[in-house]
Symmetry: C2
Subunit: 197 residues, 2 copies
């Protein structure tokens, strides 16, 4: 459809998550026809990110130093570990400004059909952090789909009796949602997890 380089750019952009063919074309034209400095700055930033961003040696979130910003922060409770699937989940939780503990990024969820077992995730590293002592609670904050549920159940068994309290995030109606728009599983869980009013 397009000539050489422009077609390559449309193709590359179309491989990004959430970018469909129409968006890829629109972004490509913006990069071709917009300010030269803007396009080159984006390219340079992508390269810089690959060169400076690594994984935190303790929690495996993203970091630009051996320890990430959360792990370096002495005001946080490092005895409270929130286990998440991916690094981006850390930032979703950080945006609530409600959680003052530390994290542990598993790197995914158990998925035997895709060949993802405990050894493919950072389970041993989590167990090692717990074995070091000083951890009073581990919060399992997986996604609420099948793989996430299975991973949480697995970790719950693995951590049982190792010392810390092991908890899971509440499941129920999302805030601001209409009850009749909730799916059956969500509604069942909201009933099962009901509290005193």
């Amino acid at each position: 459809m397009y000539e050489g380089a422009l077609q390559s750019l449309v193709d590359e952009l179309g491989r990004l998550p959430g970018v469909g063919p129409k968006s890829a074309q629109r972004i490509a034209f913006h990069l071709v026809a917009g300010e030269d400095a803007d396009a080159r700055r984006l390219a340079a930033t992508i390269v810089r990110v690959r060169e400076t961003v690594t994984t935190c040696t303790r929690c495996f979130s993203v970091a630009e130093q051996p320890l990430c910003r959360v792990c370096r922060d002495e005001r946080r409770d490092h005895g409270l570990i929130c286990v998440v699937e991916e690094a981006r989940d850390v930032f979703a939780i950080e945006r609530t400004r409600d959680f003052a503990g530390a994290y542990h990024v598993l790197g995914g969820a158990l998925s035997p059909l895709d060949g993802v077992g405990p050894d493919e995730l950072r389970v041993a590293e989590l167990e090692a952090r717990v074995a070091e002592g000083g951890v009073h609670e581990v919060i399992l904050a997986m996604n609420t789909n099948g793989a996430g549920e299975a991973t949480a159940a697995f970790l719950s068994r693995r951590l049982a009796g190792t010392g810390p309290r092991v908890t899971r995030l509440a499941s129920g109606l999302p805030a601001g949602g209409d009850l009749d728009y909730a799916d059956e599983v969500t509604l069942s869980r909201a009933f099962a997890g009901r509290r005193e009013a």
Copy 2:
């Protein structure tokens, strides 16, 4: 929210058209955590596009040679010029595979409040192409919003009496659309432009 380079990347991505804050974060994490080669290839392609893609010296569409692919194609009717606002409109029309003429990219639409008058668009260049002779029809294919309509009306007056037939794209109900979803202006135009059945 994020550390240095990652925050810069989220910011840069958020400036792209159609990329909101959530998408920018998702794409940034993809570029950070995905394959190194993929991310670097995207960066290199952006730079390559800026270095190789220019504007066609005749129609002002995108080109990697002095003339774009359409202007170089001798099987097309170069006496039939379709005038569009932006280069991306050329490719929208090319996708129909219905049009076998040439193009002229204005570079925008008249918008006096934004300081865009005829001198800011490639109007003189269009008049020069017509004055050269051999043009039998000019199709005005502006967007159907206020600025596009004003631009089409302006060009229609400017080209009157210069020789070629001057036409505009039909306006009416979009294909596959429900009549009761059409807005009033579209429906009015569909009535005004009605044809013998």
